[in-house]
């Protein structure tokens, strides 16, 4: 299953980069959302997929018998999800403000600051 997911993650990266390369700022944001999903899923897959064994110690027991999904990457991804959400919220509002201030959603028209 990890193998299949590797292709899925590859596709997510492809889609996100393609979207980020578009000139519309809305597509840029969608690209960013896909990108963060791609990275999270990558960690999840690379650390190994385990079916039906969540890292929870059962009621009454004090330890887990048998193998269990690796909890550490889950904790990392949880952190990463929340961070990505914060960043995206910011980015979404940023592009709206940019649109209001600049008056276009075309990224190619936003190059005053460089040249």
């Amino acid at each position: 299953m990890e193998t299949l997911m590797a292709y899925v993650v590859g596709l997510l990266f492809t889609a996100s980069i393609y979207m980020m390369l578009r000139r519309s700022i809305v597509k840029l944001v969608i690209g960013l959302i896909i990108l963060s999903n791609a990275a999270n899923l990558l960690i999840f897959v690379v650390a190994g997929l385990t079916r039906g064994a969540p890292p929870l110690i059962p009621e009454g027991a004090s330890e887990i018998a048998g193998s269990v999904a690796d909890p550490l990457p889950q904790a990392l991804i949880l952190t990463a999800i929340v961070i990505a959400f914060s960043v995206l919220a910011f980015a979404v509002v940023l592009i709206r403000r940019a649109y209001e201030v600049v008056g276009t959603d075309d990224l190619d028209k936003m190059k005053d600051t460089d040249t």
Binding site: L56, V82, V93
Partner: protein, 141 residues
């Protein structure tokens, strides 16, 4: 973005208390089962978001009583506060400390810096999301 449909109003009013209670439940049980400060905070926030969609930003502010920013600040300070007890006992920062407070009758309340921290997370998530939503809605009006 104020939506004046009756269903939404009723639903918001009916569901919100449940959602809030559920979120506190999620927060408290998080150490042992799926849940915790994040998830609890997210659930609580979605309750208020629903309310805000139904009744508008202004009334949500009134309902919250305090500014979302203050909730956020409280959350962050709670999070930091949980690091301090370890200083007193001379241990590394963020070392968890546990106290068991006997409850009237049977049982103990497990109090810990970890819980304080989780409450901080809960409040920070709630405060952040409410800041997003309320400021965005207000800017539209």
């Amino acid at each position: 973005m104020k939506t004046n449909t009756l269903i939404l109003h009723t639903a918001a009013l009916a569901i919100m208390p449940l959602q809030l209670m559920f979120s506190v439940f999620l927060l408290l049980r998080g150490h042992d089962e799926p849940g915790g400060g994040f998830i609890g905070g997210l659930v609580a926030a979605s309750a208020f978001v629903l309310y805000a969609f139904a009744f508008g930003a202004e009334s949500t502010r009134k309902l919250l009583r305090v500014s979302p920013r203050d909730i956020l600040a409280a959350g962050l300070l709670f999070g930091l506060a949980s690091t301090i007890p370890a200083f007193w006992t001379g241990q590394a920062m963020l070392t968890a400390l546990w106290w068991e407070v006997p409850l009237p009758g049977d049982g103990y309340l497990k109090l810990s810096t970890v819980l304080i921290f989780d409450i901080g997370v809960y409040l920070a998530v709630l405060g952040t999301l409410m800041t997003f939503v309320i400021s965005l809605m207000e800017s539209d009006e």
